[in-house]
Amino acid sequence: MNSIPALHLGLAIAAIYAAIALVFMLFRTSAIGRKPIYSKAAGSESEGIKYAFTQGMMPSAKESVRKHVPTFVGGILYHAGIFVATLNLLLVITHMTVFPAVVLGLRSLILAGLVSGIALLAKRLALPKMRIISTPDDIIANVIVDLFLAISIASTMSAKLEAWLLGIAILLLLYIPMGKIRHCVFFFYTRIIFGRLFGRRGVFPHSTQESRAGSG
């Protein structure tokens, strides 16, 4: 019996569930204890938000990133791999044909993401500093995503793996709202809060090139 149509339906349901759950969580969170801000602004919230999503995310603005370039690069590649694997999933479910060179490119990016994901997991498990702040959710989320990336790579080499790809994608979508992967939406929320706070207080945007020199 061909399970693909059922898996397609399952994927659609899981995607809708994940989207609704995330949107619901965002709205519910933003509604908790909402109140006006009474202090007079010294700067601009909108400029702060702009900063938070641009310069404020650059390594030049973050000592923590400058001190941990491999982890930062690993994180970027990991997330890039996830986006490309999602694109690959869309290609698979729509049966869209692409040039072999494109497939090779997708495969390489997903592989880079997978290697990064495994490296980040290894770091989490190996370093006491990381273990003490880790929860089972941190491990499970990483493993599910790594499996999604691995099967995505394999699926670019064999069409027979479509069912496996759909299966892991469903699992991933179901897990997203439950665990730490919900940061995929809360990240943006938090950056906005960051930008509003520091923008309002006139801390950012601020010319800080001088302040960073020699800071490691």
Binding site: G33, G75, P128, I132, G195, V203, H206, S211
Partner: protein
Amino acid sequence: MTKPGDVSLKQNGPSDTPDLARGLRAFGKTVDGRLAASLNACVHCGLCADSCHYFLANGDLKAQPAFKVALVQSVFKRYHTSLGRRLPVLTGGRDLDAAMVQEWIDSLFGLCSLCSRCTLNCTVGLDISRIVRAGRSTLAAMKLVPSELQATVDTAIQTGNNMGISKAEWLETAEWLNEELQKELGSKGTMLPIDRQGANVLYAVNPREVKFFPLSLMAAARIFHAAGESWTFSSDYYDVTNYGLFNGDDKAAGLISSRLQESVQKLKCRMLILGECGHGFAANRWEAPEWLAKTPEFEIKSVVQLLADYIRQGRIKLDRSKNTKRVTLHDPCNLVRMGGVIEEQRFILSHAVTDFVEMYPNRENNFCCGGGGGQLSMTRYAKRRLEAGKIKAEQIRKTGAKIVATPCHNCVDQLGELNKEYKLGVEIKTIAEIVSDALVLQQNS
């Protein structure tokens, strides 16, 4: 002195058993959208660790900001997320029990100065200080604030200032300083006005200045005199500090700040000028309007901003050649990183000293001296505080400066202790003291 490990529940509450139900209710009230978003967004990447002076000083894994976040997050997940309620093991959710409370006290009070440096360095941008303060608020509701910190807040509420200085002592000190300044300046006018109705400026100071650093008060009075400012102290409420910011008790914090605001209104002043106090600025300028749910009808500025205005407007003249020793600047976290007063103190020093050198990193990236977050009052954590200050001490040493200027009296105290502990051989001065030293007094002023 109490040792760090002795932060027992016995010492802080009326009974051995913390009122956990009360704590959970209080925690629930602290969870607003901003906090919930932060607690949902932490990915436990651990990159914040190296931004914390506590962690850098001794590598204590429990000092890393992500660990402090995880402590609060685990309770949030246990009681405020659906998966955490059903499968707490999976999410790292933990009960708020006596053991957790003990961990919270030790970590949230004992290993954090609420400096927010980690917030700037968080890959996601979590407001980590806010998370730590939410934990402190919960502990405050359970009456589990370390007793020395709580005593500081209680004293401020009971007496109007955190040092319990009586009104008579305050007025006597002001009178004595007034006489000294009259002699120095050859003037018969009032140099330290008290309760002057309709003055432009109501000036609030750290009561430590009254008790231990009267020269700092004289320096400010001298500058106001030179600028021809219409200003006054309040005889009742003149304390710029607000340790309610640190113990997490919004109600107490609001009450303390409201008294300053009421003094401004009672004396019909146009501006509340906050003396050199980092947390006093953050509390009164940024947090008080939120605690009191009211936008102040008058201007609130730091004295640093006012001094910069005086220089720009030509109201005071400074002679840089009066300050020739090398000066470096320590940026108080609550004035700079959390306050937005970043360049004014540099502008002032550029007019007041001949040899200014930055320490690195600086401005909003500067390291905390270790004296914030109520640490100076919590004597049980003094050893940790001095150890964490090692990072600041090294920053200072590298500058080769002879004077460390800082617009914050809490920082002055901590830097003074670091000076002795790490044998830095520097003088610690406030900005007003340096300006006062460089002041050119006109014949007719």
